[in-house]
């Protein structure tokens, strides 16, 4: 495990910890964006180009903005009075550690479940495209249906609000 991996994992963990312990909610959202960036760099370090860039494009470019908009449109963006760390920092960190323990146990157990994996595969974007439209076309279509449903739902919610205010 190289020095690059340690630096990147330190960045990611720092982002995650900051997201759980800071008081100002928008700062927490920006810290989560740092954690996403750290994850993307870890994917790139593992030579998964498509996963890394898609992580930046989708998580930082869309999900982080969504989180920030959600915080702004509710009351979570009031300026905090004092202190940097939130009052519930211990509970947040404990829950995050518990989730990490469960996931870590599952990942370590999976090494025994797949004993035949040897070297990392060379995956190009071409192969990902072929797999998505070949072997995994049914999950792709189901996800597309899900996205269409959420889009239609969002439009309906917005329209309904406009109708009520008239």
């Amino acid at each position: 495990m190289s020095i690059v991996f340690w630096i990147l994992s330190f960045l990611t963990v720092l982002g995650g910890l900051a997201a759980v312990t800071l008081r100002n909610t928008v700062h927490c959202a920006l810290a989560v964006a740092i954690a996403f960036a750290g994850l993307a760099l870890l994917y790139l370090q593992l030579d998964a180009q498509f996963a890394g860039f898609a992580q930046i494009l989708i998580y930082i470019g869309a999900v982080a903005i969504l989180v920030v908009f959600a915080i702004l449109l509710t009351r979570g963006s009031d300026t905090p009075t004092d202190g940097i760390f939130s009052r519930t920092w211990f509970a947040g960190t404990a829950i995050a550690a518990a989730v990490f323990a469960v996931l870590g146990w599952a990942v370590i157990q999976s090494v025994h479940a797949l004993p035949h994996e040897t070297a990392a595969p060379e995956v190009t974007v071409n192969q990902i495209g072929n797999a998505l439209l070949g072997r995994y076309v049914l999950p792709l279509e189901i996800v597309a249906l899900l996205l269409t449903a959420s889009l239609v739902g969002a439009v309906m919610v917005a329209m309904h609000e406009k109708g009520e205010s008239k």
Partner: protein, 391 residues
């Protein structure tokens, strides 16, 4: 001789790298290329700022800046000195850390996009398989920087400007990506080098640039519209409109931080012009086969500066779009049209060579363009222009 001039920067880099011991060589190669990009593109930024002010001045029937050097050439130097020496005012209530990081983040992310642009034959900084995806990932991160700037100022106008800017950038990002997907579909690769090489072929002396195909022309127009909106340029510059929002998301920034936002905007313009050149205008390839002796990097930068001139021209000519007009345009015209362009690309690809596919593809696009345009106009009840004269 010709190919030496073409590869002169590559050869220069190899020569400098060979002067150093072997252990330092990879790092030095990368650092040299990065330094070259950091020197060239801010210089182009200075040129385009001057070009904009003089060009807009002439379009508005006035001379632009003409005091500082002969014909005002040293105006960018004067602007730089001014912005460096101005006081950097940070509001007391502003969120100091985020307020500081927002312009830094913007400039970093905008410069990262240059890593994958092929600026000449063998002159790409990083040759990546998923280069186009990297570029769009960096473009998406710009939105977060804009939001950080607007929110951290603790100013209602800034926040409103930032919200509008982010909404506009997200809306136009989808057509931007979809019009690039049409190019990727024909080339079969996300790598920008392969896209330029696919356009570097000539038939009867004319190049195979994608803009010369029906779907390519339509996709280029949609890309240009989306690119102008992504960089918040007129006619899509409501987020920074002076008459509406003071200065939008960079109201509270003064001195060098404002200069960083300005730099970020123009460098972003150059960057996305570079991408449009690579995808549609053939990158570094020459327009005619006989002109192949001119170095490739001259062609690339000429095309980028031509795109900048067109953007400046649009700024001087078209009025600003209102926010709802802008969003309607994005979701109701540009996005459906880009989806139709994807269908058109498929028809083009599977119809085989010949004149028939030109006719069919052009017909599909023209009928759709006229159809969608007319139906939108009918909805808004826009009739022929009527004149009223003062009595």
């Amino acid at each position: 001789m010709v190919s030496t001039l073409d590869q002169i920067f590559v050869l220069l880099k190899h020569w400098i790298v060979s002067l150093l011991p072997a252990v330092l060589q990879p790092v030095t190669g990368v650092v040299l290329s990065v330094v070259a990009i950091i020197c060239v593109f801010p210089a182009l930024f200075a040129i385009s700022v001057l070009l904009e002010r003089k060009g807009l001045g002439r379009m508005q029937n006035r001379i632009g800046p003409n005091r500082v050097g002969p014909l005002g050439i040293l105006q960018p130097v004067a602007d730089g000195i001014k912005s460096l020496t101005k006081e950097d005012i940070v509001p007391t209530n502003a969120d100091a850390v985020v307020h500081f990081m927002a312009p830094v983040f913007l400039v970093v992310v905008v410069f990262m996009g240059y890593a994958v642009l092929p600026m000449g034959r063998n002159m790409t900084l990083v040759k990546m398989d998923a280069a186009l995806l990297f570029y769009f990932a960096m473009g998406a991160s710009t939105e977060l920087a804009v939001f950080m700037a607007g929110w951290s100022s603790r100013n209602k106008y800034s926040l409103l400007g930032a919200m509008r800017a982010v909404a506009q950038m997200i809306s136009y990002e989808v057509p931007l990506l979809l019009s690039s997907v049409s190019v990727v579909m024909i080339t079969g690769s996300l790598s920008l080098d392969k896209i330029v090489e696919a356009q570097n072929q000539y038939t009867w002396g004319l190049p195979h640039w994608y803009i010369f195909t029906p779907w390519g022309c339509a996709a280029f127009v949609m890309f240009a519209i989306a690119a102008t909106a992504e960089t918040n340029r007129s006619p899509f510059d409501l987020p920074e409109g002076e008459s509406e929002l003071v200065a939008g998301y960079f109201t509270e920034y003064s001195g060098f931080k404002f200069a960083e936002f300005f730099l970020g905007e123009y460098v972003g313009m150059l960057s996305i012009s570079g991408l449009g050149t690579t995808l549609f205008l053939g990158g570094w390839s020459a327009p005619l086969e006989v002109l192949g002796f001119v170095p490739s990097w001259i062609w690339f930068f000429s095309k980028v500066m031509l795109s900048i001139c067109v953007m400046i021209w649009m700024r001087g000519t078209l009025p600003r779009l209102r926010q709802d007009q802008l969003m309607n345009f994005a979701w109701k015209f540009v996005l459906p049209f880009t989806l139709l362009i994807l269908v058109d690309v498929v028809v083009w690809r599977f119809m085989g060579e010949g004149w028939l596919r030109w006719v069919v593809c052009s017909a599909i696009l023209l009928i759709a363009y006229v159809g969608i345009g007319r139906s939108e106009m009918l909805r808004k009840k826009i009739g022929p222009r009527s004149y009223r004269y003062a009595e």
